[in-house]
């Protein structure tokens, strides 16, 4: 390759798109590093505190698309206080100052403010795409700036964010000249929606392929919207309360029949299930169905809908579907690749929840299954062994038995053997979440067999430090390890400090690690940020006589090239 001019090499690199591959290319030699960095347009930063905007811009001056992730994963479950960090403003400010031609920004678990959205909307002439997942800190005023100022906006995709809805007129802030929208997802907004503005916007957006509405969009509006957007590929229905005899419903039925390109359906935030049949004509085209927020759709209406969806590849559903419902899925959806079964009754103990039988049925009926998230009441080793035999191709396997520490409900044994079978059979497994009664043995299996494992979530599991050590020593590709309420302590934490250089992060909460252990680690590894999150009082930790032996409630450590962050709140102590 040394004999080719740079432009040729660069052209070859254009065909290499995955981040992993591009990172690998840049390590080959100095010349490739240089060519690669100037031609890199998309950058992914899995931990916003691992680097900073200045370094990013120095290395990739031609950046067009940036993905940033902020808070650790367990923040999703309220284990991380709101003010912990993950602020996007400094990034946007730096990008704006540098005049880089940013076109796309994707953020996950970050704190976004109206100020940052406004700055974003004004600073990048070609800005096209904003995707916010699980973010917080902004209001519909921020959305109004984006709508008003981004002349070439293509995607505005808001997924499960906490947005303060000022019930304003953000939708009417899209100028009449804005006709470029391809994706508009505002399902997570709680407030009223200006239906007139919405309909006009959709009517003048011929490229609109993905539209996800919030619950304030009633059926008659849906009918009108679908009538003027037959090119729709991905639809999120907001409210679906309807009267089967109404004119709106007839209009809707007609409009749906014309949407021959529709492949993905979601929403039904409020739904009258007997009117689902309006969608039956297009179900045979659907590849993705997300009914995980549709609590009112269950029983025979749900089953009938699913029976029409023979091409489904992705299904997100509530556990009210029951084992019998999952058997229907198994016999109908032969193309299924990803299944998520969420708990419907968060009070627990529901009779309609799913068990190991549903999981086994799915594994037997869906040979292409590679990703599963399954919340259930009970599990057995035998079932997991069968699942492993049926589906050796799992990439992601996340099992959550709702009651912590629950053993195999038939044999009362720990579930070590079941999960062991999974990791042994699934040689491509990259992500695993454990639950139920588990001893150190399961970690021995994981360390031995889970060679490709990158992310592991542990809760209420294990007996001794050996468990954690098996994982740290065995899983060479581990990137993110998150542990809660398990008896792992300083011995495991400190056994191999250099391991953390190969990992993105480690989270340990309500474990056995002590303050002196963490201090020791911080001393040995200055290239790590070792954060102690203590909501009660960090000072009290120091004054306490048993200082060193004091157990640390929450530990979050991550590799970084830019040292201690300056924006940590008082309850975060960075050693």
């Amino acid at each position: 390759m040394n004999y080719f001019p740079d432009e040729v090499v660069e052209h070859v690199f254009d065909f290499v798109t995955s981040h992993k591959d591009r990172n690998a290319i840049s390590l080959v030699c100095k010349s490739w590093y240089k060519i690669e960095r100037y031609s890199r347009q998309k950058v992914f930063i899995g931990n916003c505190y691992a680097t900073n905007p200045e370094r990013l811009l120095r290395r990739f001056p031609c950046l067009k698309s940036l993905t940033l992730k902020g808070k650790p994963h367990f923040a999703d479950f309220n284990l991380v206080p709101h003010e912990w960090g993950g602020f996007v403003l400094p990034w946007i400010e730096a990008l704006a100052r540098s005049r880089v031609g940013l076109e796309e920004l994707r953020l996950k678990r970050m704190v976004v403010t109206d100020e940052s959205l406004e700055l974003l909307s004004r600073s990048f002439v070609n800005f096209k795409s904003l995707v916010l997942v699980s973010c917080e800190g902004f209001t519909t005023d921020g959305l109004a700036s984006i709508a008003a100022n981004c002349r070439h906006l293509r995607d505005l995709d808001l997924q499960e964010n906490e947005i303060d809805d000022h019930r304003g007129q953000w939708l009417s802030c899209f100028p009449d000249t804005c006709t470029t929208l391809v994706t508009l997802n505002f399902a997570c907004l709680e407030g009223e929606t200006n239906l007139v503005a919405l309909e006009r916007l959709v009517a003048r957006s011929p490229n609109l392929k993905s539209l996800k509405l919030n619950r304030a969009v009633p059926l008659d509006a849906l009918a009108r919207l679908m009538s003027c957007a037959p090119q729709m590929v991905d639809l999120g229905v907001g409210s679906y309360e309807n009267d089967p005899d109404s004119e709106s419903y007839l209009k809707l039925q007609a409009a749906i029949k014309k949407c021959t390109l529709l492949r993905s359906l979601s929403g039904f935030l409020e739904a009258a299930p007997h009117c689902l049949s309006a969608f039956h004509p297009i179900c045979h085209n659907l590849t993705s169905l997300n009914l995980s927020y549709a609590a009112e759709i269950h029983g025979s209406h749900l089953i009938k809908l699913i029976q029409h969806c023979k091409k489904l590849q992705r299904l997100w559903i509530l556990d009210s579907i029951g084992d019998k419902g999952l058997e229907v899925v198994a016999s109908t959806c032969k193309e299924l690749q990803e299944l998520r079964v969420f708990p419907s009754d968060l009070l627990g103990g529901g009779n309609t929840a799913v068990t190991e039988e549903g999981l086994v049925a799915i594994s037997a009926g869906c040979p292409k299954l590679h990703s599963i998230l399954y919340f259930c009441q009970q599990m057995t080793n035998a079932a997991l062994v069968t699942v492993a035999k049926n589906c050796p191709n799992f990439i992601r396997f996340r099992l959550c038995i709702l009651e912590p520490n629950k053993p195999d409900h038939v044999t009362s044994q720990p579930l070590d053997e079941g999960f062991g079978a999974i990791v042994k059979a699934c040689k491509s497994l990259r992500r695993l979440s454990l639950s139920g009664l588990l001893t150190d043995q399961v970690f021995l299996y994981i360390g031995m067999y889970a060679n490709q494992l990158e992310m592991l979530s542990i809760a209420f599991a294990g007996d001794t430090d050996k468990g954690m050590l098996y994982v740290l020593n065995g899983c060479k590709k581990m990137k993110k390890l998150e542990i809660r309420d398990s008896p792992f302590g300083d011995t495991a934490l400190l056994a191999d400090v250099s391991k953390y250089e190969t990992m993105r992060s480690l989270w340990m909460s309500s474990c056995e690690v002590t303050l002196s252990g963490c201090k020791g680690l911080a001393e040995k590894a200055p290239w790590l940020n070792v954060e102690i999150i203590n909501e009660t009082d960090n000072n009290r930790m120091e004054e306490n006589g048993h200082e060193g032996r004091q157990k640390v409630d929450k530990l979050y450590l991550y590799r970084t090239v830019v040292g201690t962050r300056m924006d940590a709140p008082p309850f975060v102590w960075i050693l």
Partner: protein, 174 residues
């Protein structure tokens, strides 16, 4: 419930049943919700719980469990059945739509056309003959209003409004 022992004011630490091996001091968490279930020795856990407690700590009392995004938790629907003594059919309400007891009681009053008396911790509901009760996760029938709202809304499985003479008062048994 097992975790009441943490607010044991008599401070009988030595006689207190606790998790883990003897000789270790366990940090007592101040919050109502326990944020961890430490079990160094799981078999011991089953044996050392309070006598009154016959079921494991309920999952609704553990912070961040089940591991479901708060957005999803906030948007989940949790309908509970509401029965009123003497009414011909039951109703269902979504507890998530109410933020506190006054809102809930007002909604119940509207739904069933009655008024509930005044609540006091000492005497329950006095004045109207209607007593709102609920079945909790353990299957026990409890008086509405005794525990903090969040604890109530996450453990209430169904509601029953007991009427006048049918509602046994605590005094009656003494």
């Amino acid at each position: 419930m097992a975790y009441e022992k943490k607010v044991n004011e008599l401070n009988l630490k030595d006689t207190e049943l606790c998790l883990g091996l003897p000789g270790r001091t366990e940090e007592i968490k101040e919050e109502q919700e326990v944020s961890c279930v430490k079990s160094n020795n799981k078999r011991q856990f089953e044996e050392t719980r309070d006598e009154e407690e016959s079921t494991p700590p309920t999952k609704t009392q553990i912070v961040g469990w089940p591991p479901v995004r708060s957005y999803r938790k906030n948007n989940s629907v949790s309908y509970v059945k509401v029965s009123m003594d003497g009414a011909p059919y039951l109703r269902k309400i979504d507890l998530k739509t109410y933020k506190n007891y006054p809102e809930l009681l007002k909604a119940l009053e509207n739904m069933f056309k009655f008024t509930v008396g005044e609540y006091s911790e000492r005497e329950g509901y006095k004045g109207s003959g209607f007593v709102p009760t609920y079945e909790d996760k353990d299957g026990d029938w409890m008086l509405v209003g005794d525990v903090p709202w969040d604890m109530f809304s996450s453990s209430c499985k169904r509601l029953r409004i007991m009427k006048g003479s049918d509602a046994p008062t605590l005094d009656a048994s003494l």
